[in-house]
Symmetry: C2
């Protein structure tokens, strides 16, 4: 059967999952926790095959760390499942309860989005996190993980789906896509798939966004900025900049561009240069910057997402200029100001048009776990629907239920009746 | 200047509008109300030109009613503006306030989407409604109205923009597009336009959706269903069906397909047929249906959006079959069940995957005014972001502000510090 046919079947099962009681969805997650523990040797064996292939393919150690599924990762995954079980049901919340007229009551209720396709990097724990978030939020999910963990994913997927079905959820609640060609097929399922969440490289996410009519949630690039204001505490600034650049350079929330207030540049840049050099970071700046600290001179148009131990540096005259640079050249992801001046911070926090706007904190905090969401399915730089780290709340939508007793619009159009809107 | 350049300028003004105090945005709306009253003769003169051209072009009376801007329409528009001034500020609402650790506080705040393009039908009152909704919600708006009211729109647009600028809002808060070619230019402004709201014919909306990378909110077709259950009150059913079909046939929320429980078909269909005939409505049904009430026999695949005094009719065996038909062939717009059985109604309300799911009420209630939203910019059948009639709430998004005191992620990764998530 093609993935498109599977997805069509899934679409028919979606309302059943949407209507399922939270006790059943939680039961599915508890079953999964039990099954993961009971089958851990089987999972580890499958993972050993993936690791062997990674060795044969000469995959870097840093990447292999992500492919590995061991007792430590299992513990993380189990604690994530347990947290998710404890979270309140995101479905059926009444967010509007309004009488339109006597006997005519409108309710707005949260409900699942429906069918969600998630394409994610080679990280076995991600499969469990994503599928469990979708189950808890009542969404059917098509999962396509990185091929480097194909063996592990296959075992984990079976555990997740069997656990859901055993709890009483419909067969079609979870689907696995394994081959890359299935992604293109999935992109054309705009009648049946309600949302796509691609995670991965800039180019990959851009490809998904450009080749489907299905709404896409996520982010392509992550050009995050830190603006060191005239009233910055230098110690905090350096500490935060080193963290934001080096704590995990491949992350989308790592800082890529540093803006420095012109008035403090001569004093601050040498301090920053020294700390960054010790941390292994190369700074590339505009001419004004390289005149002070040397190094390569680059122009503003060359600033980019390095995902490496490199950062661009530019001087600005005030917070307004910093805001304009960020709004023009940034990715609307996460940007931070370092300042002790509350008024300037307020302007920055309000006017920077990004999912996360920070003061005196590292951009690396942009993450569902750190925000206390339990987990995230991704980070969105879109301004529509969900923005920033997306947890359970981003996986629900709402519907309006209107219950009347033979009410017709004609009576209101002709003035026989009048609305008496009243929130209940 | 091209519209693309104008929009780029607008994008730079957007953060200023976003940061503007609600008193200034309300002031802009009050200015507009004053200016509309003061310039009413000028508006009526412009409208007379549009009406003259409509006469010359032989435009139908029903359409001319919509083009006309008279004292009555002015009153409606003024009362809309006054309601909007009274509504609470949709911006800056704190929807999450959480300590992540000592001195590290995360807030989620509502904020405008940014730059919104609205393409709407030839209705002068729509220009005022849409621009005022955008101003109140802090969004910059590009307005493209139907060419049949070009003269009136030009006068109204100037009043709206001048009123906003006089209150202190940025020059670039509102833009008018006048020629059809500007629509295509607008569709390519995906770097600067955050959302498009097209209103109009199915084919037009579909064209917009298929030709832009900008997120689109709206609906193409509106194939709304009413399911007459076995436990329906026949009087209510007939009354609601006649209203939903005839009260305004050109509306997207008019009923197009009638599903009837097989057990009551022989008794109910003749009653429905008689009432619909009196109301001028032609019923076309599957063979089972035409065997009972005569008329044209059509197949399920011929069911469509008539926007006319015609409806398709089909029999089903139970509520589950009705739900499956609606979820498969509907537009996820608005669908209603007629039943006195609460359990069956509950299943329908929960499992039909539409923006509006009703019991014993006409589908024609799907409307921002009737829902008590003050006004609407459109009705969305998307499941992402806003669903159903979209008022102020659908024009805002949110951002995360994180304020720390030198906090870095490295401290949490190494275990030096621990998060102590606590909602404040």
């Amino acid at each position: 059967m093609s993935i498109a046919e599977d997805v069509r079947k899934m679409k028919k099962d979606a309302p059943k999952l949407a209507a399922s009681d939270v006790s059943i969805r939680n039961e599915a997650l508890k079953n999964a926790a039990e099954a993961l523990k009971a089958n851990k040797e089987k999972i580890f064996e499958a993972n050993a095959l993936d690791m062997k292939r990674a060795d044969e393919n000469g995959i870097a150690d840093s990447v292999k760390k992500r492919l590995k599924f061991d007792d430590h990762k299992l513990e993380d995954v189990l604690s994530g499942l347990s947290m998710l079980v404890d979270l309140p049901d995101p479905l059926g919340k009444v967010t509007l309860n309004r009488q339109l007229d006597d006997g005519l009551v409108l309710k707005r209720l949260t409900c699942p989005i429906g069918v969600i396709g998630v394409i994610f990097e080679a990280r076995p724990d991600a499969l469990v996190q994503i599928s469990s978030l979708c189950i808890k939020s009542g969404n059917c999910a098509i999962l396509k993980g990185g091929k480097e963990t194909a063996e592990t994913n296959r075992v984990l997927f079976k555990i997740m789906r069997d656990s859901a079905v055993k709890a009483g959820l419909p067969e079609g609640c979870l689907l696995q896509a394994e081959s890359h060609s299935e992604i293109d097929e999935l992109l054309s399922c705009d009648k049946d798939v309600d949302l796509l969440i691609p995670r991965g490289s800039n180019a990959f996410v851009r490809y998904i966004m450009d080749n489907t009519k299905i709404p896409v949630m996520g982010h392509a690039d992550g050009i995050c900025h830190i603006y060191v204001d005239k009233y910055a505490d230098f110690d905090k600034a350096v500490r935060i900049l080193v963290d934001a650049k080096t704590q995990y350079t491949a992350a989308c929330n790592a800082v890529e561009t540093i803006l420095v207030h012109r008035d403090i540049a001569k004093e601050f840049l040498p301090v920053l240069y020294k700390a960054m050099k010790e941390a292994g970071v190369t700074l590339k700046g505009t001419k004004e910057v390289s005149d002070i600290i040397g190094g390569e001179t680059i122009e503003e148009k060359d600033f980019k997402e390095y995902l490496d131990l490199i950062a661009s540096v530019k001087l600005v005259s005030n917070v307004g200029e910093a805001i304009e640079h960020i709004n023009t050249f940034g990715s609307h992801h996460t940007d931070s100001i370092i300042t002790e001046n509350a008024d300037i911070a307020e302007v920055f926090l309000q006017m920077v048009d990004s999912a996360g706007v920070y003061q005196n904190a590292s951009t690396r905090f942009a993450d569902g776990f750190r925000y206390g969401f339990g987990a995230e399915v991704g980070i969105s730089t879109s301004k529509i629907h969900a923005r920033g780290p997306v947890g359970l709340e981003g996986l629900v939508t709402y519907k309006y239920n209107l219950v009347g007793n033979g009410h017709i619009v004609g009576d209101y159009a002709t003035g026989v009746k009048k609305f008496n809107h009243k929130d209940l």
